[in-house]
């Protein structure tokens, strides 16, 4: 129980941990998938897994937008930057993700492409205003929390009559991905990833509400608990899932009532649906093509769509051979199952997307996992 000492509220953490110990039935296993990278981070940072009984497992899902972007789309972004002589703006996390032949945005930039890291779409708009003679493309990625800011930027560009601004849209939707994981053959047939319940994303749910998850709970008969980011939130939510599983219930429960409501942020939702519409299919790294899982810019705003403005050539995109990101993102393998983990592939020299962002499973394992394994070993030795 070493890690409990690090918690702010020691007593509360202890009592939740012992409730979990008491209520998890020894005869069965509880496989809980956390979808959101923020949860993955909290679980590792605070050693939450160590506080769980042996039969409660966290399965790390595809909840990091950088990790799930397929190599092809990244290659396209590099091509837009290099071939069309635009200013390509993107969030910092994208810069080091390796594309085909290890080519990343940062390498393209070193080779002379005008690629700029921005904190916000507001910064991208400013670059467009300041450089009227250049085309400025915002390389947009992210789940439902990052989509509304992109929508606002497009709206703003239209209102201002900014003609040199466009968006390369890669926004993806969480509920479709969860549904896809539940329907994928690994889950249905092979039984390699048995998932008994989900920790639902917190900030994504603050925007879209928890209503969209009610369909899953019903359709797939799996419980979902919307969980906050604190380690205590994760533990409390895990307890709520264990209770639902024990009682054979499959409902959406909301542990994060401090922030999340059933309907979410309606203003943000209205803006998003004004600007974007569903793509019939979009490829996710690790999951393959997932129907209705991403957004594209509506016809009305076609002028701001980089995909219509700039041709990209058909190409053979390839991930690094033997990178296990796809299996890791589906929860089928662990980072330590990858031959490259910690040897060839480290956060300083990532071979795959899961090692780039701190929310990726490989990066989390690298940063906290070895420490955790070592501590477990030491504890065992001390006990022997």
């Amino acid at each position: 129980m070493k890690y409990v000492a690090e918690y702010r509220d020691k007593d509360l953490a202890k009592s939740v941990a012992s409730a979990i110990q008491r209520e998890a039935k020894p005869g069965r296993t509880y496989n809980i998938m956390e979808f959101c990278g923020g949860h993955t981070h909290a679980i590792f940072r605070y050693g939450v897994q160590n506080l769980m009984p042996e039969n409660v497992h966290f399965v790390h899902g595809p909840g990091c937008p950088v990790c799930v972007l397929p190599v092809r789309r990244l290659d396209d972004a590099v091509e837009i930057a290099e071939r069309h002589n635009v200013i390509l703006c993107t969030y910092g996390d994208m810069m080091r993700v390796p594309g085909t032949k290890q080519r990343s945005l940062i390498r393209a930039k070193a080779d002379g492409a005008d690629i700029r890291m921005v904190y916000s779409t507001l910064d991208a708009l400013k670059i467009a205003r300041d450089n009227p003679e250049r085309e400025v493309v915002f390389f947009a990625i992210g789940f439902e929390t990052t989509t509304p800011p992109t929508a606002v930027a497009i709206k703003q560009a239209e209102e201002e009559g900014l003609k040199n601004f466009s968006v390369f849209c890669n926004h993806v939707l969480t509920p479709s991905a969860i549904g896809h994981i539940l329907q994928s053959p690994e889950v249905r047939e092979l039984g390699t990833v048995q998932i008994d319940g989900f920790l639902g994303p917190s900030h994504v749910s603050s925007v879209i509400g928890f209503e969209p998850y009610e369909y899953f709970a019903e359709e797939f008969q799996k419980p979902v608990v919307i969980a906050g980011f604190e380690p205590l939130d994760v533990m409390q939510s895990t307890l709520m899932l264990i209770r639902q599983i024990n009682e054979g219930r499959h409902e959406v429960e909301n542990e994060y009532t401090r922030v999340v409501t059933r309907e979410g942020n309606l203003k943000a939702q209205a803006l998003v649906s004004d600007i974007f519409e569903l793509r019939t299919s979009f490829e996710w790294r690790g999951l393959g093509p997932v129907p209705y899982s991403a957004l594209q810019i509506r016809e009305n705003y076609a002028d701001f769509d980089a995909e219509r403005r700039f041709e990209v050539s058909p190409k053979q995109s390839r991930e690094v051979k033997s990178c296990e990101c796809p299996a890791i993102l589906r929860g089928v393998k662990k980072p330590t199952d990858c031959k490259l983990f910690g040897t060839v592939c480290t956060p300083d020299n990532p071979m795959g997307s899961c090692m780039v962002s701190s929310e990726g499973a490989c990066a989390a394992y690298w940063t906290y996992g070895r420490y955790r394994d070592k501590t477990a070993r030491q504890q065992k030795e001390a006990a022997a």
Binding site: C36, G37, T121, V207
Partner: protein, 84 residues
């Protein structure tokens, strides 16, 4: 990039923009996604936009946790760095 930091609104301007204070840092953000904001409210700030209001208690909890997890500094650097 998935994290959101709580910050206190210190100024509001009519054009859907506000100034927030974050650990001594001031930052101009967009309020186009939230309604009925007042000076003194706390908001969760994500990639330069207020995503929604939070209570002062929730803001304090979150900031404390982010500081403990060592991610607050990184996020602050991201907010103040980048293209301005």
């Amino acid at each position: 990039m998935c994290l959101a930091i709580p910050a206190k609104v210190t100024e509001l301007s009519g054009d859907d923009m506000a100034v927030v204070a974050l650990e001594g840092v001031k930052k101009k953000i967009s309020t186009a996604l939230v309604e009925d904001l007042e000076v003194g409210d706390y908001v969760l700030v994500h990639v330069g936009y207020a995503l929604h209001k939070v209570s002062p208690e929730e803001a304090a909890r979150t900031l404390k946790m982010m500081a403990e997890a060592g991610v607050l500094q990184e996020e602050l650097e991201e907010i103040t760095g980048g293209a301005q």
